[in-house]
Symmetry: C2
């Protein structure tokens, strides 16, 4: 009997994901009936999930063994009270590689003061030399799979990398602080701060006026994590008074970022349109297929979400 998999995401994703999922299922030797609609919810074995799709009430999916998120961030579903089935988030090599490339690129952009050249080609020859990477302290807030991958890539380029996460972590050669005091000292030290925390009740407005005031004067902020990690008004005042020299923001409370938002017009902000890390259909679908294989074999699912922690 084939396995019934419901694709529950925005309509426009179906065209891309239908073939990619079917290929992945075939490669994994799974016999799957994949649809974006089932007449009988109680027949569905697995749900492949992304936000803003058709499923908001999980109650009728009585036989469903797992909800497999296509995205790494699960804040849109984790608080859903009808969700009693196991929930797995996406942890995908493509996603992680894309994030490492984007973060490393923008850290190097700040490190080398690239914009000074890229944005000013007026003919003035003004050599500008900064310190080497090994003399540049970069903090990664959030040392999960993505944060750790970015930290290691930056470390391989000799950056003086420090990490912070809510709970104690141990990562080779990278000092990792935790807790409130750890956050303070991390913010005080770093010239470039990268936000890679999940969005939870505890991380909302993590970068507020008080914490921003602790930061290295003239620090730079890179946020490919989640929009609500930053108190936007606090960041805008800090940019205006020079406490923060520049920010590169990829994620926002409202996306697309409204055209009249102060971030677009601010000379010391680069807005990027949520491109830091895209779920790549090929690699992501292989992860989904692997989790279905595990479910069918009675093995534990990979990347299960801790519902209480929220990620």
């Amino acid at each position: 009997m084939p396995i019934n998999v419901l694709f529950a995401a925005r309509d426009d994703k179906w065209e891309t994901y239908q073939p990619a999922l079917n290929t992945a299922f075939e490669q994994a030797g799974l016999s799957v009936d994949l649809h974006c609609n089932f007449d009988h919810p109680e027949d569905v074995d697995y749900i492949v999930y992304a936000p803003n799709g058709p499923v908001t009430d999980f109650t009728p999916y009585t036989k469903t063994k797992a909800i497999l998120s296509l995205w790494a961030g699960v804040e849109n579903i984790v608080t859903n009270k009808t969700l009693t089935q196991p929930l797995a988030r996406m942890v995908d090599d493509g996603l992680s590689e894309g994030m490492v490339e984007w973060v490393t690129g923008h850290v190097l952009r700040y490190h080398l003061d690239m914009d000074a050249d890229v944005c000013d080609q007026s003919g003035e020859w003004v050599p500008h030399y900064g310190p080497l990477a090994r003399e540049r302290k970069v903090a990664i807030l959030g040392m999960g799979a993505l944060g750790k991958a970015c930290a290691l890539a930056l470390k391989a380029l000799n950056f003086d990398v420090i990490g912070w996460s809510r709970r104690p972590k141990k990562i080779n050669n990278i000092p990792c602080a935790h807790g409130d005091d750890g956050l303070k000292s991390t913010l005080q030290q770093a010239e470039i701060v990268v936000l890679l925390l999940p969005k939870t009740a505890e991380t909302e407005n993590l970068l507020n006026a008080e914490r921003i005031s602790l930061m290295h004067k003239g620090a730079k902020i890179i946020n490919p994590g989640r929009g609500p990690l930053i108190d936007d008004d606090a960041l805008l005042s800090a940019l205006n008074n020079g406490q923060i020299a520049h920010a590169t923001l990829d994620v926002f409370r409202v996306e697309p970022l409204p055209k009249d938002h102060a971030y677009w017009a601010h000379p010391n902000v680069t807005v990027t349109p949520h491109i830091a890390a895209d779920t790549r259909p090929n690699t992501a679908c292989a992860v989904i297929a692997e989790n279905i294989q595990r479910g069918e074999a009675g093995q534990p699912f990979l990347h299960l979400v801790d519902r209480k922690a929220g990620y």
Copy 2:
């Protein structure tokens, strides 16, 4: 008896290098008399050399055991017919690290199409996704110490790196072509081409109209090597007809690049003011001190220049 070392570089370098050299000599346990002027050239044991300094005729320096260049590029001295003493070029960790950071940064800038965001903050939310680094072919022309270091750093970020050098080279995991045919196929394949060749009679105008026409349509060029590697007129036409999409140029035939040069005004060129890799006084002076130690101990000098090859 102290060792007599002549500092032969532009006057404005003395202030920086005098203390850095003396510190390095002291740390190496060398007793040195360092001056930017000796009454008797025949007393000079070593010359620390950079272009545009006071020494153009090496004939009177009859006792001098080596000329130790502060720079990696030695084209200004290697053709000097009065030079009969051994010549060592600078191979310095700081120089190499700086180059790796600059090259990696600009390759990632192209790879991520960063300028699309950095230069346009008009409020249009236009997500742009490119391939992952592992799907992006980057060629390094010139696989010497600097080229190899850059190739390995880009490879560590998963880029599909290929190399080319004049003579056959073997480098772990990185396919290295050589010779004329190798150059052709390298140029045909790469989307991003980085020039890290020395300036010699053979490399002058290496990137000429014919070779540029072989390149991947819409390729991008990064030149932190030497200005004369590129036929400037050929590059400008290729930029105008779209054969080359963009170039980032750090070195030029004439520096500072004159204000009215077409490169400054071209929308698809980023001029940077010869900043890709700076000799760092601390690390460079340690290399100079090590070579003097070796000379005094009768050991072979490091980084000797092959006068015939020109580097």
